[in-house]
């Protein structure tokens, strides 16, 4: 029996990625990374900034996401996100701009711990991207 399932990544403007031959997806959920295989129980969670790794038979794809919602049901993984890009076409300028704006946000005093954590995390991920 095949151990493949479907993934749909949509952003508000269009359907970003739709594949039916993936066997594992790793998503940066807000409480830690989740690896999803076929026949995972239905789950709803939301994302923190991080990298979605999609493993299909022939290739591995990596996407950076800032936030979003994931739903897994009936062997279909839906990812709803407003900000996503493929690591392959990462734009250096955009990444460095995002880092600096996140750092500017961090230097403000009036943010709560949760937001600070997310921002720190975002900076970390973005920096790791820009090094590669």
């Amino acid at each position: 029996m095949s151990n493949l399932f479907n993934i749909d990544i949509v952003n508000p403007e269009q359907s970003f990625l739709s594949k039916d031959n993936v066997f594992e997806v790793v998503i940066p959920a807000v409480e830690g990374e989740i690896g999803i295989l076929k026949d995972h129980i239905p789950i709803i969670s939301f994302l923190k900034p991080g990298i979605i790794r999609v493993f299909s038979e022939s290739e591995e794809q990596n996407f950076y996401v800032e936030d979003g919602i994931v739903e897994f049901k009936d062997n279909t993984l839906s990812v709803l996100t407003s900000s996503i890009f493929d690591l392959k076409d990462a734009d250096k300028n955009f990444v460095s701009k995002s880092i600096s704006s996140a750092e500017a946000e961090l230097s403000k005093d009036n943010i709560d711990d949760q937001k600070r954590f997310l921002l720190n995390h975002k900076v970390e991920v973005l920096k790791s991207i820009s090094i590669n």
């Binding site: 508000p12 709803i44 969670s45 919602i69 049901k73 709803l80």
Partner: protein, 293 residues
Amino acid sequence: MPSLDDLRKRITSVKSTQKITKAMKMVAAAKLRKAQENAEKGRPYSEKMNNVILNLSKSITDKENAPKLLVGTGEEKVHLCIVLTADRGLCGGFNTNIIKKAKSYFEKIISENKTLKIITVGSKGYDQLKRQYKSYIVENISFKESKNINYFDADKVGKIIIEKFEKNEFDVCAIFYNKFKNVITQIPQEQQIVPLNEDKNDKDDSSNDNDYEFEPDEDEILSNLLPKNISTQIFKAMLENSASEQGSRMTAMDNATRNAGELVDRLTIEYNRSRQAAITKELIEIISGAESL
């Protein structure tokens, strides 16, 4: 009776107007295709979003402590209306239809002695509403400078709404826009986004047997999700609106072109008749002059 010269001038002017309306129609048709495509592309997102919220709200057992964006503040005193219109005119009844729909809603609110607040998105809506409802308009947003509809703009509107909600500035929020049915028909819509309409959630019970695992818990996901849903709904409305606007403009301009054509035909006949009449008159004069000799 206008002189031949006057008629000739009128014909040329109508013809050049016709050229403009024809060009506008072509432009609208080209834009319509793109807008329609965008609207279709944007649909999966809002549909999925709706599904997730639907599933979530079903699994919430503790209705008392559910996020207020979902269940409302418990009161219905202050209504916030978001009226989404175009930034440009010359698109038939497009703007007027939305305004009409909105106005009847406003009247209902006012007659029930409730407080009304209006946010207009798009300059045409503001222009039409400011005469009658100026004191109710709290904000007037226009995205004239952005060429395409993008999620970023919708998110801005969404954030304003959330901010106002958190300050307890309103209890119920409805948006008004035109739903794109086809090129000729656009249906003005009234949609309540805060609190989310309950009866809509009852529609689909088939997925009820799905027990989801939530991480973190339902409440936290919901409170994260609902603000996003508002932006998504606004974005959806904006996409529908832009497709409707182009469709409406295309039909309006098509009609205008046809009317101009009819007018040119009529004026040409009139012009030919009066020219012929002048010729006949001169001939009669010549003949009768010759006869009298």
